[in-house]
Every structure is written in C-alpha cells, then in structure tokens.
C-alpha cells in the first residue's frame, strides 16, 4: 500500500474509521448476538455495561443500541451511497451534455438548474414523501435529485472548457461523432473531478437522509436509520441519554470523515491543476 502511506495521518485516520465502520455495519448481524428489532425484556433502558452484554445500552423497550446503530448505519450508508451514485450519473451526463452542446441547449439546462436550486427542495421532498408514502426508491430519487445540482454545474463549466480544447477540435476535424468525443475525451477528463465531488456529495446525501429520518419520513418502524434513531433517542433523552449519544456520535464522525476526505481530495486536485498550468 505505497499510496496509503503517502497520505497525511488525518486522512489515514478517516479512511480507517470509514472502512471499519462500513465493515461493521455490513457484518453487524453476524457479529452481535442481539437482534436490532427484538426487545430484551430483562434489560429495559439499561445503561451501557459489559456485564449485561449491551455495550451501548438498550432503549425503552429493551432493544440493543449497538445492534440498532449498526443496522441504522447500514441503511443510512446504503441510501447515501446509492443516491450519490445516482446524482453522479445525472450530474455528469447532464452537465457534460449542456457544456459540450453549448448554444440554447446549454442555456435551457442552466436555467433549469437555477430554477431547481431556487426551489425549497427539502419542502418538496417532504411533500412528495408524505403524498406517495415512504418507498425506498422515492427516497433515493429525492435525495439524488437534491444533491446533483452543484455537480452538474461544475461538470458543465468543465465540459465547456473541454469543448474548446484543441484535442477535441482535432477530433471533430477528423470526423468524430458526439458519442466518440464523449467516450474518448469528455468522460476521461471529467470523471476524476466527478470522483472528488463524490466525496463532497456523499456526506450531504447521508445528512439529508438523516434529516428526513429525524422527521420520520425515511423508513418505517421497526427498521432504523441514523436519522430515525436520533429521533427515538431524543424522546428518551432524559431517561436514556445513551440511546441518543451513540447514534449521534457515529453520524457526526462519519460526516466529518467524509467532509475531511473530500476537502483533502479537492486540495490535492487543485495542486495538480496548478502543476499543469
């Protein structure tokens, strides 16, 4: 792992944390002997203790907080990753088309993006979810649609720059079709930037999901996401503070790690840009 060693310590800590956390979320059901949905009637609202086996304690109806946190993380991370990928696909393709086509196509798309970012998007998401019910697919689409706009803007300006690049002109002068220019020149030069943006989009998507979860719009009981766990925890804040503290800690640490990685990636990209000038 020669690359990993060349990273600064802070980046390495974030990477290790995220790796361990995702692994734990995926393997949670096999690692922990408690079912996140089944109450343990002997231990209602128990404080964290090694003796009882409930390391993070239990909630008011005796469900294990550790099991629930990992189950919630699984859902939050899955929704975050899937909707980010959706946003990535949407942002790159629409941005690249707008930037490369230029002319009225570009103007229309840019105006649409302006309109979309002017709308109180969360309000609309909440409205949609309460009208059509809570489905996983709708949730993904809503979050994806919320976070793709900035990416599309960046991709547009980058594609517009590439449109004028001599190597693209040379390709057109040789008779290349749009799909060939897209495949050979636009995508290979856009994707590195898009990957960096993924680092910024991911925490945003997770945060939006948690927010919806906190409002009770994410997933139905007894399933849990970090957002819904925070809501439940907030209800029992006085009697069982641990049921709020642990999910909150994991959410904050995850968001901070992603944010930090995204920033480092962006700095790294800026340096590269300056080098090539």
């Amino acid at each position: 792992m020669p690359y990993f060693r060349s990273f600064p310590t802070s980046v390495r800590v974030c990477l290790v944390f995220l790796a361990v956390l995702s692994l734990a979320c995926v393997l949670g059901p096999w690692l922990i002997r408690f079912d996140p949905h089944r109450p343990d009637w002997d231990f209602l609202s128990t404080a964290p203790s090694f003796l009882s086996g409930h390391w993070f304690g239990t909630d008011a109806i005796g469900r294990d907080i550790l099991a629930r946190t990992l189950a919630g993380g699984r859902l939050s991370l899955t929704i975050g990753v899937l909707s980010s990928i959706l946003a990535l696909a949407l942002g790159v393709s629409i941005g690249a088309i707008a930037g490369y086509a230029g002319g009225w196509t570009e103007r229309v798309i840019v105006r649409l993006l302006d309109v979309m970012s002017a709308l109180p998007f969360l309000l609309i998401v909440i409205l949609l979810l309460s009208l059509f019910g809570r489905s996983m697919f709708l949730l993904l689409a809503a979050i994806g649609a919320y976070v793709w706009i900035d990416l599309a803007r960046v991709m547009r300006s980058e594609a517009a720059r590439l449109r004028e690049a001599p190597f693209v002109l040379a390709s057109i002068a040789a008779g290349a079709r749009f799909d060939q220019v897209l495949r050979w020149h636009l995508l290979p030069n856009l994707m590195p930037i898009a990957w960096v943006y993924l680092g910024l989009i991911l925490p945003q998507a997770i945060l939006v999901e948690s927010f919806l979860g906190f409002l009770g719009l994410s997933v139905d009981e007894p399933s849990a996401s970090w957002g819904s766990l925070l809501y439940e925890g907030a209800q029992e804040m006085d009697s069982a503070p641990w049921s709020l503290i642990f999910p909150a800690f994991f959410l904050v640490a995850t968001l901070a790690s992603f944010q930090f990685l995204g920033d480092s990636l962006r700095d790294w990209l800026d340096v590269r840009k300056e080098d090539s000038r």
């Binding site: 690049a165 001599p166 040379a170 390709s171 057109i172 002068a173 040789a174 008779g175 050979w184 090539s276």
Partner: protein, 519 residues
C-alpha cells in the same frame, strides 16, 4: 570601466541537494550597457534574474560573489533588498498579470514613485505624468485614469516599464519583455528600451529566448543551456563565429532554409467570399476572403494576433458553427454545405495541427490511441492494424515505436507537435492546415518542425495552409502568401512577389518587424 554590477560563481541550489539548479555562472554589466541572457525555457534565465534581485522562491538558495557599484553584497541581506527599486529594478514578463486589474495605471505608478522617491502625492503625480510621456505613451493625462484592461499589450508593457523606472534605478532586469508581444510591438518596445539605456545610462540585463532578436539590441550576450553557461562574448563575435554548437543552433533558427521547389498540381481548395461574423460582434472577424490552393502548394497566411487568420483556418475546416458565409470547395464540393455524412467523408482529406502542442493531445490517452483516433473514426481497422499504422506515422515524423504506449506529458513540446502532425497525417489527407503550429515552440524545435513540414509537402504532394505571424517560418515555406489585418486580406500573391514588392504599409511593417543583428 568598472562594472555597475557583477556576480561571480553564482549558483542556485535547491535546499539539501548537492547538484546546483543553476551555475556556476559569472556576469557583469557596465554603465549604459545591455547584456543579453539567452536560452530556452528551463535554462535558468529567470532563476538568474530572481537571484540577482533576491526574490528567489523559498527553498532555493543562491551563493556567489555579488557586487553592485563595486560594493560587496550578501545575497538576500537587508542591504541587498534595500537596493531593490532604487538601484536595481525588475520588469516582469507578463504585463497583464503584473499589473493590478482593479487600480488605474496612474495610481499604480504614483504609489511606486511615492514609496521609492519619498515625495508627496502631488509631486509624485507630476513625476508619473512625466514618466508616461518619456515612455512615449499617448495622452498621459487621460491614460493615467485607465485600468490595465483598457490598454493595449504594448501600452501595458510600457506602464510596467514606467513602474520599474519609478525609483530611478541604474540597473534594469527585463525578463522576456517582448515574448507576449507581436513582432512589430516587440521591436518598438526594444527600441524604446534601447533609447532609455542611452538617455538614462541604464545597465540592462535583457533576458530572452530569441538570440537573433537580442543581437540587435545587446552589446554582449551570454548563452545558457540547462543552467550552465555555454558561451559568452560580444554580439559581433557570437554572430560571426559562434563556437558552441548550441549557439549555432539558436542562430540557425533565423536562417531557415529557403523553400524547396514544390511540384504544384491541380487546384484542390477554392475559398470564395468567405466572411465570418461571431455572434454579437460588430465587425466581421474575416471579411470576404478568397483564395485558391493547388496540390503540392504551400499557402502562408500571415498576420498579427487578432487579424482573423485562425478564424479563416477554422472556417475552412468547418469548425465554426455559426456566422460563416461564402463557400469553401474541396475538389468542387462545398464543405460548408455538406450533409453530416458527406462532411465525415470530406474530413478524411483534411488534417489539422494546432498551436499549443500540449493542449492538442488528450492528457489521458496513450499516444497510440491519439494517433489512431482518425483511423478509428474513419476506417474499420482493428487495434493491431491501427497500432502498425501509428508506428509507421511516428517514423515518418522522426519518432519511434517507444512513444506508442506513453502519455503526452512524457514528451517535449517539439515531440508533442510531431505527434500532432502524425495524427493529422493518419488518413493521408490532401490538405494539411497548421494553425500557428510552431509559435509555441523553442527556436530549434521550430526550425525542425518547419523543415519536417516542408519535407512532407514535397514528398506527399499535399497542399499546406500554414497560418503564422512569424516571418522567418513564412519565408521558409511559402509558395503563395496571404497577408491579413483586422479580418481583411491586404495582399495576396506569389511569395517572391510579396517579399520583394509589398504594397501595403502593414505588410511592409510585418516584413520589417524582425530586426537583424547585422543592421
């Protein structure tokens, strides 16, 4: 005469590295003398200037024996930095980057005068006007209230010179003062510098990559290569018998061989009444252009930047979408009216090479894919066949197979341009269009590429459209010349005719723009 400044054994080190980036190097310059420092990009010219100024970026250390006016100076000591502006001034390379965009030029000059001469604002303003007038800037009264972007490139350069002279220095270090300017403006700027040298008894260290140009204005020249002095001597001596092969190479750039006799065939490209007007522009970028190109012929389109010559070239390739009127006929078929399918076929017969070799190669594709791109678009060749063809093309432009699997950043500018030419030749086109294809290159790469293009025209009998502002290159290739200014064609005709009997004053100025050392 004692030198105004001298430096012996100048070396620049990167901290903790034993091998010096620059030097050892010795320079000296007497009062009202112009010392030329010449070399290609990366040869250490700017490092020399920055270390003399004590302005090296952190991490770099200079050592050596430095003297100003006979006084020993320690590098980067407070005494050294105190001399800046007062005794020794710097004129940076890029005038548009060196001036503050949001302050008027008068303001910027006044500030320097106030700080350096320690006089009140009112007097500084008078001194600024005087300085502007001395530098032959038109209407100083109005000019001082303008912002940098409202001035022309030549005027900005003069403002920068005025700021450099604000502290009445005795030594001026001018780093590539003309490389951003057109030949005519460059000559004017250097002549002004020359007259200032006499009038103010300035010692000038003039840095440039253009040896023939330096020869006309410097008294002595030092040639640098890879951070080492290759040769130093008086201008007469260097031009008469340069000892080092590298110096001769730099000089040879000026003496490009005369065009070989091209075998000229039937007419292939007819451009008629071609006008271009960009959206929202008030005037035509190209106005009523008209020419007729024959097989085996080289047409040089000569003009300064902004004359519309590149637009003309791009329109001929149908790379401009809107605002093009007229006709461009390839063997009688109009490119501008062709359907999409026809256009694709017509594009086989035209190759193009652009100015910036690095920008014209996709950084994320291998050379074999870059050269194979036209083949991929236009033929059904498989990967193996494309590879064979690409290596064949590389050999034709003087490179070999080892380039195939590498990326563009592993090549020098000259090699990158060869790769771009190989790509343009992939489909064996009838017409090759070179848009300022050599102006981003160093002197000796330039002459290599020009002679390569000459060879290609001769061997393949294709028609070459060579767009340039550089007269030396134009002379080395042209059969036919077309001179453009502000979108209009001023003159066109056979090369010998234009070189010898140019009618239009602008043409004559262009032809005279390049100073010769002999004069």
């Amino acid at each position: 005469m004692t030198p105004v400044f001298s430096v012996e054994n100048l070396q620049v080190h990167l901290a903790k590295q034993s091998e010096p980036l620059l030097g050892p190097l010795s320079l000296q310059c007497a009062q009202s003398e112009c010392l030329g420092l010449v070399g290609e990009s990366g040869s250490g010219k700017s490092l020399t200037a920055l270390s003399l100024l004590g302005l090296l970026p952190p991490g770099l250390q200079s050592s050596g024996h430095l003297q100003f006016f006979g006084e020993d100076i320690v590098f980067n000591s407070p005494r050294h930095l105190a001399l800046l502006g007062h005794a020794i001034a710097w004129m940076p390379q890029d005038a548009s980057a060196a001036l503050h965009p949001l302050r008027t030029v008068g303001d910027q000059l006044c500030e320097s005068i106030k700080v350096l001469q320690k006089i009140p604002a009112g007097e500084a303003k008078k001194a600024a006007l005087h300085l502007f007038a001395q530098l032959e800037l038109p209407e100083p009264e109005q000019l001082q209230h303008r912002y940098p972007h409202q001035l022309s490139g030549g005027q900005r350069q003069r403002v920068l010179l005025a700021i450099a002279l604000a502290g009445k220095p005795k030594i001026l270090i001018a780093d590539e003062p003309t490389s951003a300017l057109d030949p005519r403006l460059a000559r004017e700027a250097l002549e002004l510098l020359d007259s200032l040298r006499r009038k103010l008894q300035l010692a000038i260290l003039l840095i440039s990559h253009d040896l023939p140009l330096l020869g006309a204005y410097a008294q002595r020249v030092t040639v640098l290569q890879h951070g080492k002095v290759v040769e130093t001597g008086s201008v007469e001596q260097i031009f008469r018998d340069a000892r080092h092969p590298y110096t001769r190479e730099l000089l040879a750039a000026e003496h490009l061989s005369a065009p070989a006799a091209h075998v000229i065939g039937a007419s292939i490209l007819q451009v008629d009444q071609l006008s271009i007007r960009y959206p929202r522009a008030k005037t035509n970028a190209v106005d009523q252009a008209q020419f007729d190109l024959k097989r085996g012929e080289c047409l040089v389109v000569l003009g300064e930047s902004g004359s519309g010559k590149s637009s003309l070239g791009r329109a001929c390739l149908r790379l401009i979408k809107h605002g093009v009127h007229g006709s461009v006929k390839l063997d009688g078929e109009d490119i501008l009216q062709a359907s999409r399918q026809r256009l694709r076929l017509l594009r086989r017969r035209m190759g193009v090479v652009f100015q910036d070799p690095a920008a014209s190669l996709n950084p994320r594709r291998k050379i074999v894919d870059i050269i194979g791109e036209p083949l991929c678009i236009q033929t059904n060749m498989n990967a193996v066949q494309r590879r064979t063809r690409a290596s064949e093309l590389l050999r034709q432009v003087g490179m070999d197979d080892s380039a195939l699997d590498r990326y563009r950043h592993q090549f020098s500018g000259g090699q990158q341009q060869r790769i771009a030419i190989a790509r343009a030749l992939a489909m064996s086109p009838d017409i090759l269009l070179c848009d300022e294809a050599v102006s981003a290159l160093d002197a000796h790469h330039r002459s290599e590429i020009v002679s390569l293009l000459g060879d290609i025209v001769q061997k393949r009998g294709l028609a070459l459209v060579f767009i340039t502002h550089d007269l030396a290159c134009a002379k080395a290739l042209a059969d036919q010349v077309l001179v453009m200014d502000k979108g209009r064609i001023l003159e066109q005709g056979s090369a010998t005719n234009i070189w010898q009997h140019a009618q239009h004053p602008v043409t004559r100025a262009l032809i005279a723009a390049r100073p010769h050392a002999a004069s």
